[in-house]
């Protein structure tokens, strides 16, 4: 497997302080390798967006990172912990190394500034030596890359459709050629046709430019198609992580199975859509043991007692995947 570019180690994120704190992300270990698309799936409130905000230090108050490391491996040089960067270094790190495409395509652009201003102010902040003309050329180039006519440079966000705005955001994310692009439900607000167009375009760009993608969504069917590896989150923890095909064909965790059973397959034998009974756990009062056990159809004795550890299962493809479930006793913990 290729080298890691971003390693999340034991990351914990809480909202609020003291006894009232809600632990939204718990002991998450996740590695993003160079050039891969890592999918992050889970229900609403499972902590996937919080994880993305946490690893880029963009948590809105009262979010606090209470522990862990986010190691970034630049193309050259030593790996460093993003969480330990000074404000100045963090600003230089942002967008240049890790860019983000956010959930709300509609609200990610400032309504009172032209597209060109919002594209070039990244360049002005990170590449102060670039001339005005060079900045504009680069911005135009990025728009062309995502399939928007260069004469839209002087348009205001409200003059663009939702799909175009999200393309502008993708173009903006790639303008400094970052190593990592985090996409937080980038297509949720768009219709399915636009969703597919934008994602195919993104995958094509990724092959050309070679960045890595963390793709966050609640739509597991999208991930199965577009990502190399998938991590499933539940109640702030990663419960299963495996190559996309492995998750799709034989997921080990009952929760992953439940998610996969919630959408129909296009090909293959007809099967009943099952869904997952119950509702996502309350992060303030998590069930004991495995947080999924009250909803789990296969729950048995140990599930309510102890939290299962994310580790390699004893299946033939065990070394390439990990799971946190008492049904699959793990040999060695990961991370």
């Amino acid at each position: 497997m290729s080298k890691p570019v971003l390693e999340i180690r034991n990351l914990n994120v809480e909202y609020g302080l003291g006894d009232q704190a809600v632990r939204a992300v718990r002991d998450v270990n996740l590695t993003l390798h160079r050039g891969e698309v890592l999918g992050l799936a889970g229900e609403s409130g499972s902590g996937k967006s919080t994880l993305a905000y946490g690893m880029t230090r963009l948590l809105p108050p009262p979010g606090v990172i209470t522990g862990g490391q986010v190691l970034y491996h630049p193309e050259q040089g030593e790996a460093y912990d993003v969480l330990g960067l000074s404000d100045r270094d963090l600003r230089a790190f942002r967008w240049a190394e890790t860019a983000i495409v956010f959930q709300g395509a509609m609200n990610s652009l400032n309504p009172v500034h032209k597209i060109s201003t919002q594209l070039t102010d990244v360049l002005r902040a990170h590449r102060p030596e670039m001339s005005e003309a060079a900045c504009n050329d680069r911005a135009r180039e990025m728009l062309k890359l995502v399939g928007i006519a260069a004469d839209r440079m002087d348009a205001y966000p409200h003059q663009l459709s939702g799909g175009m705005r999200q393309r502008v955001m993708i173009g903006m994310a790639l303008i400094l050629q970052p190593q990592v692009v985090i996409m937080d439900e980038p297509t949720t607000a768009l219709d399915v046709v636009m969703q597919r167009q934008i994602l195919s375009q993104l995958i094509e760009l990724r092959e050309r430019l070679g960045f890595s993608v963390v793709f966050i969504t609640h739509d597991l069917s999208l991930l199965v198609e577009f990502s190399n590896r998938i991590a499933i989150m539940y109640g702030g923890r990663i419960v299963e992580e495996a190559p996309a095909a492995a998750i799709y064909r034989d997921s080990l965790h009952p929760y992953s199975k439940g998610l996969l059973g919630s959408f129909p397959a296009l090909r293959g034998p007809r099967r009943e859509l099952t869904g997952i009974p119950g509702s996502p756990p309350d992060l303030k009062g998590m069930p004991s043991g495995c947080s999924f056990h009250p909803r789990c159809p296969k729950a048995f004795d140990p599930c309510s007692g102890n939290i299962p550890v994310l580790g390699r299962p004893d299946t033939p493809d065990g070394p390439t995947r990990s799971v946190a479930c008492w049904l699959h006793p793990t040999e060695q913990p990961v991370g």
């Binding site: 809105p60 963090l90 609200n107 990244v122 409200h158």
Partner: protein
């Protein structure tokens, strides 16, 4: 552009309606100015003089209301607002033109300072929540709930007196003649300090509060997070993204408050006996001086309309979403 023309047409219509009302309302109130003058001169007027007074005040009995209305307009367009009773026979336009600069300078400058100071502090308080600027808020909220004329009375009570630096009333010392010279200007400035401070203290908190709240609202918008994620400097995010957008409601508020410069601080001028237009209106009310009242109302109406127009134009310039295509 079309939008702007529509707005201008709308304001012209409003101005016409206001001026027409201004024409009719005094004619509907009981009593007429000539009767008031007759009382004032205690019957020492001949019947000829009384008739010519009626004509002078545009109340010619031989004319229909329509003819009077047309006359009113033609006089208005010539800048003729009639004659004042209290300062008979001084034209109203002359009284207004001498008192308007006092109000414009005092309240105008104070409003502008108040807006910029308040907005600046509001940006600071909203962007750095919990800092010292945010701690100012309860104090300013308290001050804004105090009526400014009361604040003025307190200021006069506490700060003025025979030996005090601050004069308690008027726009300048009695012995001086208004002129742009080294005696008059400092004296006028000294007289305007207390009223200006009173207005400033009571109005600045409104700007702080509204700007601070808009900043807090805008700060949670997605594009602010994006701006942070882009690695822009904190200053740039605060100014070009947060404050730029939070400013919009405040700017229209500012333009509207410009309209109230002329009529809005009547009470401060009364409390300080400041020779501005509000004080003039107060005196006109006491003396039943209809032409002067009409004139002052007209000025107030026009300034509110002009301020509204300025607000529209400012919004067009600042918010691209209000600009229509084509």
């Amino acid at each position: 552009m079309k939008y702007l023309l529509q707005r201008i047409a709308f304001y012209l219509f409003t101005a016409w309606a206001a001026i027409t009302l201004n024409f009719f309302i005094p004619r509907m109130v009981p009593g007429d100015p000539v009767q008031a003058l007759i009382t004032k001169y205690q019957g020492q007027l001949s019947s000829q003089a009384i008739d010519s007074l009626y004509v002078l005040f545009g109340l010619d009995k031989d004319k229909s209301v329509w003819e009077e209305y047309v006359d009113y307009w033609s006089q208005l367009l010539h800048g003729d607002l009639g004659l004042s009773f209290t300062f008979f026979p001084t034209p109203v336009s002359e009284i207004i033109s001498t008192s308007l600069p006092w109000t414009l300078l005092l309240v105008g400058i104070t409003t502008i300072i108040s807006f910029f100071l308040g907005t600046g502090l509001g940006v600071l308080a909203g962007w750095r929540r919990g800092s010292w600027a945010d701690g100012l808020l309860p104090v300013t909220t308290f001050l804004s709930s105090v009526p400014y004329f009361w604040l003025g009375i307190i200021a006069i009570y506490l700060l003025t007196g025979p030996d005090s630096f601050f004069p308690s009333s008027g726009g300048f010392d009695n012995g001086l003649v208004p002129a742009w010279d080294q005696y008059f200007i400092p004296n006028a400035l000294k007289h305007s300090l207390l009223p200006a401070l009173t207005i400033l203290i009571s109005s600045v908190s409104g700007w702080i509060l509204s700007m601070r709240n808009m900043m807090v609202t805008v700060a949670s918008e997605d594009y602010i997070t994006v701006a942070h994620a882009k690695g822009l400097s904190d200053r740039r995010v605060a100014m070009s993204y947060a404050a730029r957008n939070a400013l919009l409601p405040n700017v229209s508020g500012f333009a509207l408050s410009l309209g109230f410069i002329v009529g809005g601080t009547l009470l401060v001028e009364i409390v300080f006996s400041y020779p501005g237009i509000g004080f003039q209106l107060f005196q006109a009310l006491g003396a039943q001086d209809y032409p002067l009242m009409q004139g002052v109302f007209l000025i107030i109406t026009i300034s509110v309309l002009v301020a509204n127009l300025i607000a529209d134009v400012a919004y067009l310039l600042l918010d691209p979403r209000t600009r229509k295509e084509g």
